[in-house]
């Protein structure tokens, strides 16, 4: 492998990532400035005393020109300082709010992703190998059903049918994984399942289609005629190649997964980034909403980078 080309590619990607983040920060910041309502009046109430409003504006740099405000904000953001929360937790640095919420969302998101991958690997493989038979019909029906159910509704149905009948799964609240891993896995199961179901459906469809396409390639027939066992052929020739589109779709769906996290966290009362953003939206806490949007953007961009790297490992043709 050409190490120099690889590092060059890495540097270029890092630059594109940084440029996208800055463009995203610009868009988020100026869209927020165009929003109706005065943050000072939102935080202090409509009938606040004028001198208090002026002091609040000064403390949060709202009396500066917009361009200067942006420079201050992005300069702070680069150092991990997103300013202070206005209404949710008056005066608390947004960065510390995010620092407590992000691990929770990362846990739920990863949990959902693992569930979705596990479900889809089984369903996709079985449907492809049993093509046209009962198992395939059941699998593909599940896949279409999965994308048709709104995730927040599925969350409630899961609470209704599972949480109320099986008290192992709490219907509300969340136990931090650092406090009790068992508690976190149990309390996170239903929300993760609600997020994972539509994902699993999309992944399973992709895997089934990819497997079916590869199963009839000439090199698979050749491998079989060379006398390799069916298991060996499946894992080394079929699955290996079908995984490339699968991983690509996995990466594309991360933005939907994070979208699902936002709604589901709120429903199950999970104190993550999603419920922080929704609370921020309700309280018109602009710095919080801005920081959340930017953090979600960063997560998606980093995941894309990871998926690209993974695809390059799976498909040496792409690494060049």
């Amino acid at each position: 492998m050409d190490v120099r080309a690889l590092t060059q590619g890495g540097v270029r990607r890092a630059l594109v990532l940084a440029a996208t983040l800055i463009a995203g920060a610009l868009a988020v910041f100026f869209a927020m400035k165009a929003a109706p309502g005065d943050p000072a009046l939102t935080a202090l109430g409509e009938n606040a005393r004028p001198d208090l409003v002026a002091a609040f504006r000064h403390a949060h740099h709202l009396d500066l020109p917009v361009s200067a405000q942006f420079a201050l904000w992005i300069g702070g953001a680069a150092r991990g300082d997103f300013g202070q929360s206005l209404t949710l937790a008056g005066g608390v640095p947004v960065a510390s709010l995010i620092a407590t919420r992000l691990p929770v969302t990362a846990f739920i998101g990863a949990y959902a992703l693992v569930l979705a991958v596990a479900l889809s690997l089984v369903i996709g493989t079985v449907s492809a190998l049993q093509r046209g038979r009962l198992a395939d019909t059941i699998g593909t029906s599940f896949a279409v059903l999965g994308v048709s159910m709104p995730d927040f509704w599925l969350g409630y149905v899961l609470i209704f049918f599972l949480a109320l009948n099986f008290p192992v799964f709490p219907s509300y609240g969340f136990v931090s994984p650092t406090a009790s891993l068992r508690g976190a896995l149990l309390s996170g199961f239903l929300p993760a399942l609600a997020i994972a179901a539509p994902m699993a459906a999309v992944f399973a469809r992709t895997l089934r289609a990819a497997l079916l396409e590869v199963l009839h390639r000439e090199y698979v027939t050749v491998a079989r005629s060379l006398g390799f066992g069916p298991r060996f052929v499946f894992f080394h020739y079929v699955m290996r190649n079908a995984l490339i589109p699968y991983v690509t779709v996995l990466g594309l769906q991360v933005r939907y997964l994070l979208g699902g996290v936002v709604v589901i966290e709120r429903i199950f009362g999970i104190p993550g980034m999603g419920s922080l953003m929704v609370d921020g939206a309700f309280g018109r806490d602009y710095p919080v909403v801005q920081a959340c949007a930017l953090t979600f953007l960063a997560i998606v961009l980093l995941t894309n980078l990871l998926v690209d790297a993974l695809c390059a490992r799976l498909d040496p043709r792409r690494a060049a």
């Binding site: 995203g24 159910m149 927040f152 509704w153 933005r255 709604v263 909403v289 894309n304």
Partner: protein, 273 residues
């Protein structure tokens, strides 16, 4: 064969849903607003197939009216996204070079935000209301249509009939409108049919959280948010409304899948990406 049968099922469901949301409410003996404090939170029965809510309103009637509202919102949002996205994508692919880089950079930036985060963010910027939800849906789907239109246009740009139109000196807008657009329209329509289904989910999700359509307008999300209030006492309102939504989306998705399989094989690859 199986494909055709599932597509037929999708078409049937879609037609029933369309009939229900257009004419259904008029055929019901109740109105979506009439309150009836004797029949409060009634479980499903023959008189009220989906039960009644906390004001004694018939849930089925509300779902039919709400379905129309949600569908119109989604339709407007997706239509706006499709028009703007197609124009952007076609222009980017045709011009190439710096124009393409700049336009697609913007599209990729929008595409990198989690869809629901983008919608939520927009609700804070725009305010909560019917038009704002439609705009949020438009912004979520704009990058998807732009990418699709750009990829499709790139495939067709070097086709002989396009080259011929170029050689006889047709202006670019005419080539795009008369040679390329008719050939990519079917693929865009397939994408639109799927986007409309997901637009309904975005509307429902935003309104369910209280950040979208506001009551008393009975959109599907508002009805479900309502059902959440008394979920313990009357679980059928939320459960059955969601089930009705799921069946409607199932129909749209099956139809979209079937249409995708019928699409021009040359363009199918771009549709999948």
């Amino acid at each position: 064969m199986l494909r055709n049968r599932t597509m037929l099922a999708g078409l049937t469901i879609t037609l029933v849903v369309l009939f229900g949301v257009t004419a259904g409410a008029a055929l019901m003996p109740y109105s979506a607003e009439t309150m009836d404090f004797i029949d409060v939170l009634e479980p499903p029965s023959l008189a009220h197939p989906l039960g009644t809510d906390s004001f004694g309103r018939d849930v089925l009637t509300r779902v039919l009216v709400g379905g129309r509202i949600s569908l119109v919102i989604s339709l407007c949002g997706v239509a706006l996204a499709a028009v703007l996205g197609t124009l952007t994508g076609m222009a980017a692919a045709w011009r190439g070079g710096a124009t393409e880089t700049a336009l697609m950079g913007l599209v990729d930036l929008l595409f990198a935000f989690p869809s629901f985060v983008l919608a939520l963010f927009l609700m804070v910027v725009l305010g909560y209301g019917v038009q704002d939800v439609a705009l949020a849906i438009a912004l979520v789907y704009f990058p998807i249509f732009a990418r699709l239109a750009r990829n499709l246009t790139r495939v067709l740009r070097d086709e002989p009939y396009v080259q011929a139109a170029r050689l006889i000196g047709q202006p670019a807008p005419m080539i795009l409108a008369r040679e390329i657009l008719p050939n990519i329209l079917s693929a865009l329509m397939v994408q639109a049919s799927i986007a409309i289904a997901f637009g309904v989910v975005i509307e429902a999700g935003l309104s369910f959280l209280g950040l979208g359509v506001q009551p008393p307008t009975p959109s599907l999300g508002v009805i479900m948010a309502d059902g959440r209030e008394y979920f313990q006492k009357a679980p059928w309102v939320l459960t059955l409304t969601g089930l009705a939504v799921s069946v409607a989306l199932l129909g749209l998705n099956l139809l979209g899948d079937g249409l995708r399989d019928l699409a021009d094989p040359k363009l199918r690859q771009a549709l999948r990406a």
